[in-house]
């Protein structure tokens, strides 16, 4: 499907769309049809909550966060768990992590998994984030893997090596861990990788890429079904490469411009009713035997 056509489909995503990829071909259907198809389990993705954001692009980012949580709770199938794909806070504003933790208590799910965005680690190199969310991750470094009903999930950290001129990167230690982690998996195991900054080069001059992301992608190519979820760019974009599909998510706080559509990637100011179509969460459905995972976008309006 051409990018233009894909964006047109997104434009009518009023009640939620399912994107299903079969043999590399994308098709869209409505949420009702997807719900009827019946999934083995579903999980949610929430991203870029930016607690502490108070800019003009959204004066009520706590309100849109609560609406996003309400959207997750209103899903016809309760998500088994929810992934937060980073930028929990806006530049580590004091108290932001605690405020978010309090708000997320309202999410109706069994468990939440977190990975950091650059906003969560920029000021102190990750100390505060890892003291809260490091427990249960590999050597308390923030990256982690787990299995759920036959699907192998891997959460990566690609925001801890920011330095002048270099943004997202995984680093050799994490790549070595990932290689070892994936070695144990059978090629028929569905893989879901989640990371904050896109692992693929969406728009490098805006920092929308992971310098060594291609190495990680190389490691998952041997698997029959790979779904890569990210945040960071505050908009839905999708790319298919063989058996690997990449999906970037909306923010709950503020939208950002399409790649290259503005002089810089700063928060995008839009009309109030338009804003709610650009914010939201997503649901992912897994059905055994159906290789691709179905992605259901849930904008606020």
């Amino acid at each position: 499907m051409e990018r233009r056509r894909f964006m047109q489909c997104l434009a009518w995503a009023g009640t939620g769309l399912v994107w299903a990829a079969r043999g590399g071909v994308l098709s869209a259907t409505t949420l009702d049809v997807a719900a009827a198809a019946g999934a083995d389990f579903t999980f949610g993705q929430i991203s870029d909550t930016h607690v502490g954001f108070a800019g003009e692009a959204n004066r009520d980012s706590m309100g849109t966060l609560r609406d996003s949580i309400a959207g997750l709770n209103a899903l016809p199938t309760r998500p088994s768990f929810v992934l937060h794909t980073g930028d929990l806070s806006h530049g580590q504003k004091p108290g932001a992590f605690a405020t978010l933790a309090e708000e997320l208590k309202a999410v109706k799910t069994e468990k939440m998994f977190f990975i950091p965005g650059e906003h969560d680690v920029a000021i102190d190199g990750g100390k505060e984030y890892l003291s809260r969310y490091g427990a249960g991750t590999y050597e308390s470094r923030g990256y982690q893997s787990f299995d759920y009903r036959g699907v192998h999930f891997v959460g990566l950290v690609n925001v801890l090596s920011y330095k002048p001129g270099v943004g997202g990167a995984l680093g050799d230690e994490q790549l070595a861990w990932l290689r070892k982690d994936l070695e144990a998996q059978s090629p028929s195991t569905p893989i879901v990788v989640f990371a904050h900054v896109p692992l693929w080069a969406v728009y490098p001059s805006w920092g929308w890429t992971t310098a060594d992301g291609e190495q990680a992608i190389g490691m998952v190519r041997r698997f029959g079904s790979v779904t890569v979820l990210n945040g960071h760019i505050h908009q839905v974009l999708q790319k298919v490469e063989g058996n690997v599909t990449f999906h970037s998510a909306r923010s709950t706080a503020f939208p950002q411009p399409a790649p290259g559509a503005a002089p810089n990637p700063g928060p995008m100011k839009v009309e109030a009713d338009e804003l709610r179509r650009l914010l939201g969460v997503r649901q992912v459905q897994y059905t055994e035997g159906m290789k691709p995972l179905a992605i259901v976008e849930r904008p606020l309006a």
């Binding site: 502490g52 954001f53 108070a54 800019g55 003009e56 692009a57 806006h90 530049g91 580590q92 504003k93 650059e118 906003h119 920029a122 000021i123 190199g125 920011y162 330095k163 002048p164 001129g165 270099v166 943004g167 001059s205 920092g207 002089p263 810089n264 990637p265 700063g266 928060p267 100011k269």
Partner: protein, 107 residues
């Protein structure tokens, strides 16, 4: 008479030099505008306190390359100051947008 003129000239030169240094130290300032530090290179005397002001809607940081100092996330209109106490060339960047880099030269 000649000696007096020489003395006065020297005194005047010293006063001017002092005024120039004092003027520079009073308000050395870097603006953050459109994802750039402006000026990208600023030269100041030892002991100068530099002020950064974020004019962007986006949040930025002022972070030393060696991480010896950093601002918090600066929202629109917020300021950060740092005093440079030793001569040298100090590079810094925005830890949220690492393509934003700049330099303070301290003499």
């Amino acid at each position: 008479m000649k000696a007096l003129i020489a003395t006065l000239t020297a005194a005047l030169a010293l006063t001017l030099a002092f005024a120039a240094a004092g003027g520079a130290a009073a308000a050395p300032r870097v603006e953050i505008h459109q994802f750039k530090f402006q000026p990208a290179q600023l030269t100041v005397p030892v002991g100068t306190t530099v002020t950064w002001m974020n004019d962007d809607e986006e949040t930025h940081t002022v972070t030393a390359t060696d991480r010896t100092y950093t601002s918090t996330g600066l929202d629109h209109g917020e300021k950060f100051t740092h005093r440079f106490t030793a001569p040298g060339t100090y590079t810094y960047f925005c830890a949220l947008h690492p393509h934003m880099t700049a330099t303070i030269v301290v003499r």
